[in-house]
Amino acid sequence: MLFIVLFDRFLMAFALAIHIVLASIGMALPVIILIAEYLSIKKNDNDYKILAKRLSIIFIVLFAIGTASGILVAINILVLWPKFMALVSQVAILPFYIETFAFFLEAIFIAIYFYSWDSFKGKYTHLIAGIPIAIGAALSAVLITMINAFMNTPNGFNISNYLKTGIITNVQPWAVFFTPSTWTEIFHVLSSSYTAGSLIFAALFGYMLLRSRDENKSRYYKKALTLFLMVGLIATFFSVISGLQSLKQLVTIQPEKYAAIEGNIQSQSHAPERIGGFPVNGTLKYFIPIPNLQSILATGSANGTVPGLASYNESTWPPLIVHPMFDFMFFMAILLGLILIIWFVLQLLKKNPLSNKLMLKAIIFAGILSVLILEDGWVLAELGRQPWIIYNVMTVSQAANYSPSILPVGFAILAFYVLVIPVTVLAIRKLLKERPLENELVNQ
């Protein structure tokens, strides 16, 4: 039984880890494509038009895989956690439901936008037809995040009665849109997804620019890279702000998660910020304390008390591994921010940073960092809620599907994901190779 629950968890985590990257690309890419098309019209610059069209090919293929992976995740949620889904369906299903319409919006306008290049008469009509794609993608993320916020801060029904009797009463279906964590979480998910989605492509274009020996191609790559980096920089700025806001909010809404992230065993005032360190036998060891800083950051005062795990039943403690995971995320985010700021300052000073090989290598590194931060952040958020699937309402073990029939198809899914992602990358490469960039640039 335990093995099956572990397998359920692993399968879900694996599917989500892949889907999150695809979803982030699916959110960022339409925005970049639209900006590129806008610039191509505004500046009458064919490079941007070529960029928009070539990115569209990548988008369509990744969208195909991404939506299938999204459906797989949706089915995974239903079949791996049927009891969880039964509760959500009776209390908090509306965001899930409205999300299907956001998905429709995206799918229909993809059919309109991508198969109608040059067939609209108005200068901006085609561009406008693409806006719903970006809106649909963002809206999907917003609505799905609402369900995650519900898992962290459940509301909209009589929880105490449910815990006593198992019966769901006093359902308020719209409450799920306004849980205490909803809007902070949405802000953070959107900004971090745009960060990763754009910086993955910044890394790709950085790599191609690094290898390019052709003047036309280099010019094209630089324009593309600047676009992705600008979006990435703005998104990173908001991601940092929203991340700090999220952490601060945990003190009140999920104190166990906060305590585990900070490595607090006892509640205390004048709490130090613990930099580094690892969990050893249920406590944090080998860290560097910065006196009072945690209390100041969390409460605004050194006298402020921050929660500790000892105030809660040990069976509901999240694993302390979330502390080093948080540190890892934090330092990677600082590094990422530094790379982007250096690029931006050099760009402002007209130092032509994209001609510098070291800068390009740093940008490639930033792209890798953005994915690591995204994954680390999600794992941290989910591990920090353990053992709950719905905080203080339902544990993961209570929600799990114990049917052994999951195993064969689960392994097939794992094997398939391992196969499908590299095949897709190769397919995109092949499809783009069949349309040599140099020909398109020469023919403009």
Partner: protein, 309 residues
């Protein structure tokens, strides 16, 4: 009859109609690749994603409508549902690859792979659906299934053959890639015969309801007759009429089956969502459905204008 049930079945009918049309495309592409011409290509490249979205729409609407059935259905159908989802990734990947490939031989390979994946999804989906009608292969008490019994049972096999024949007929009527000849009538008759035989033999209560709701059969036959009439007269309405016929017929089956599922093992009214969710869900379905309908109409108009250009 319950509004939520009707809305759910309405969405299901739209989903199954589009799925059947896609099965038709997949079958034609597999059986005779030379008919996979621009007409089929244009349709499938525009619609593949929308069809997938309809599947999600139905799934989520099912979750909204029957939350108390989720634990049973979710646990029992885990294997075929995940397997179908797996093939959905193959379907999506290969149709997307085929779109931008320039070598014809590669395109053929991609399209055939897409078609096989689509057919596997269709077989799994139809098997799940038929088992939800008869209850064959599923144990509701233990929330488990026997996958072999679920797929290899006479009702499912008869229905699979009937549906595949219907899809060939539908695709012929809809796409104009094969000349519509009198040879199509036996196909249609056999499909009808298999459907009636399967229903009579394996879900007698549905067949009894069918007798008392004979007018639904009449309406269905009239719609079919009109479709053929329009087709013979080469009217462009034939396409829409054939879709309407399939959509209406599936919907009628829902009216006849109501309120049971799993061979009378489940009375769906006992598993429906509470009133708090029912109201907002119905409003969202109706408003969202109208918006989606309008967007699809815009897409259809745009495509038809492109053809004229």
């Amino acid at each position: 009859m319950n509004l939520l049930y009707q809305l759910n079945y309405f969405i299901f009918s739209a989903f199954l109609t589009l799925l059947m049309l896609e099965i038709g495309v997949a079958l034609l592409a597999l059986l005779s690749y030379k008919v996979y011409t621009d007409k089929l290509k244009k349709y499938i490249l525009t619609m593949w994603e929308i069809n997938g979205t309809f599947a999600v729409f139905y799934l989520v609407n099912f979750e909204v409508t029957y939350p108390k059935l989720l634990q049973v259905a979710g646990t029992a159908y885990v294997f075929p549902a995940l397997l179908a989802a797996l093939f959905l990734v193959v379907r999506n990947a290969f149709i997307a690859y085929s779109e931008y490939v320039s070598k014809p031989s590669n395109e053929k390979l991609y399209i055939k792979t897409y078609a096989i994946a689509t057919l596997v999804i269709a077989i799994l989906t139809i098997s799940i659906l038929t088992s939800s009608v008869t209850g064959t292969g599923i144990n509701l008490t233990s929330s488990s299934i026997n996958i072999y019994a679920l797929i290899i049972n006479p009702y499912n096999i008869l229905m699979l053959i009937a549906i595949l024949l219907f899809t060939v007929f539908m695709a012929t009527m809809f796409f104009d890639v094969i000349r519509f000849t009198k040879k199509m009538y036996p196909v249609l008759l056999i499909a009808f015969g298999l459907f009636l035989l399967a229903t009579y033999a394996f879900v007698p209560y549905v067949f009894s309801n069918l007798e008392s709701m004979y007018y639904l059969i009449l309406i269905s036959l009239i719609l079919l007759g009109l479709s053929i009439l329009f087709k013979v007269r080469e009217s462009r309405f034939a396409k829409f009429m054939i879709l309407l016929w399939i959509f209406a017929s599936i919907n009628f089956f829902g009216l006849i089956e109501y309120p049971y599922m799993f061979g009378k093992g489940v009375d769906v009214t006992q598993y429906m969502t509470g009133s708090a969710i029912a109201g907002p869900a119905s409003i969202i379905t109706i408003v969202g459905g109208i918006l989606v309908g309008l967007a699809l109409l815009y897409l259809a108009v745009l495509n038809s204008n492109k053809k004229k250009d």
